[in-house]
Amino acid sequence: MKLDIERVRADFPILLRQIHDKPLIFLDSAASSQKPLPVLQAMEAAYRQCYANVHRGVYTLSEEATCSYEAARDKVASFINARAREEVIFTRNTTEAINLVAYTWGRANIGPGDRILLTEMEHHSNIVPWQVLAQERGAELVYLPVTDDGRLQMDRLDDLLDERVKLVAVTMMSNVLGTITPVREIVRRAHAIGAVVLVDGAQGVPHLPVDVQDIGCDFLAFSGHKMCGPSGIGVLYGREALLEGMPPFLGGGDMIRRVELHRSTWNDLPWKFEAGTPAIVEGIGLGAAVDYLEGLGMEAVAAHERETVAYALERLAALPGMRILGPPAEARGGVVAFTFRDIHPHDLAHLLDLEGIAVRAGHHCAQPLHKRLGLVATTRASFYLYNTPQEADRLAEALEKAARILGKAG
């Protein structure tokens, strides 16, 4: 089913805003997406009508809050097709989910001489936790290279996958190149040598239909705020057997079964990894975001983005001096990073903002990838379910205008 784009846009009140007297064109959803009314309403209703701490009270409000919060977990589990709700751990965001794995599974399973295989297109959040772990454990990081057009060099994978590799951590979709990676194939080959696979779904889960059983990954990390939900809530999916075997992450309330003065025992999954009062209303908001996306259908969301991005790529590529990073439309998601003439990304983003267009300028938390591509910074326009081909036209026109304004400088 095709997205009814006008109805979708009407669900996002922020899209009515004017920026510098121009209608907002929001092209930074890869950093954080906007929120639809059902999410805002669910969160407001939670605060207004059924707010209390969860998992403890016997009184009605606490029971209602617990039910709503735990229902969100069921929704997330079904959204990614987890086998069981116990496999869905709520975290703050993708970064915390990856750190959770590094600090618990990693410390217990990675030793001197072991290798962790990453790719050159990873976000800093899927590099730095492994650097910390590798330094602490005497392990080594190795990287699957990217091609000049921004794909993974899959023909190098088997060479790199030797018996020293204990973990493979790979993004599902590059936040700079937009490249959708063959995670299913990577998982298959990594499992063949006995490695565990963590998939960074921060960009993938908001934009693509995701089935963890089909992908076969051991862990999947993603954030609520990039998928129409609130900030402060994210997800770590983990295979139950692995989660059961892992020591806890943070210690405190809720994650324990019994506490004595000198020792404690741990709560069951998933709460073993959720110490302290969680982001209750944010969790409920994430549940509403999942309902919203499922109501539209992730196939329809992905198809809309493919169409919009294909148009945007064609439109932008026609501008003289445009260099678009990453593969052609059929191999990418909603992210389009580029350099334009010799204009510095900060200047470009500034001039686009004057036209009401929000894009990101910088290294997008992927410095090693930029270095690989011989760049320091790029401008990134990222499209989501509420963006239109007309907005891509406006972007192209604004870029031409920026070139005219700065032409005086050249």
């Binding site: 510098h20 510095h344 990304p345 900060h346 200047d347 500034h350 001039l351 004057l354 300028a361 910088g362 290294h363 410095q367 320091v376 910074a377 304004i405 700065l406 005086k408 400088a409 050249g410």
Partner: protein
């Protein structure tokens, strides 16, 4: 309407003043911002009274940081080290004579960041690696 990219800003970017290096600098000042790649390198030679006799800069970056470096080097000529040390961020922004919003302050202040780093190491011999 924001008009940061005024004629004189674009002119300083296209035709930077004091661009280059000095024969014998007394102070070498560097700043870089890995998040956007802006780099400013300033060299200063003092006269016998300890005032800025010559100044030159090199760098790479956005229009705001490069124009700011050009304007900054024009303004600091003839000043004493004490005057340099007491330069405030607001004074540097005022030199630009263009509206710098909070989102571009860091770009505009890159030359001041460099200068302050350079003054911290003075009067040790300047390193020559640039």
């Amino acid at each position: 309407m924001d008009d940061l990219y005024r004629e004189h800003i674009l002119d300083h970017y296209a035709h930077p003043r004091n661009r280059g290096r000095l024969e014998a600098p007394d102070i070498i000042a560097d700043a870089d911002d890995p998040s956007c790649g802006d780099q400013v390198h300033i060299e200063i030679a003092l006269d016998p009274e300890g005032r800025i006799a010559q100044v030159a800069f090199e760098g790479e970056g956005c229009i705001v940081s490069m124009a700011s470096a050009s304007i900054f080097t024009e303004h600091i000529k003839g000043k004493s080290l004490e005057e340099l040390a007491s330069l405030t961020e607001e004074e540097v922004l005022a030199m630009l004579d263009a509206p710098v919003g909070s989102n571009r302050r860091r770009c505009a202040l890159t030359p001041l960041t460099a200068l302050r780093a350079g003054l911290r190491t003075y009067p040790k011999n300047p390193s020559s690696d640039g």
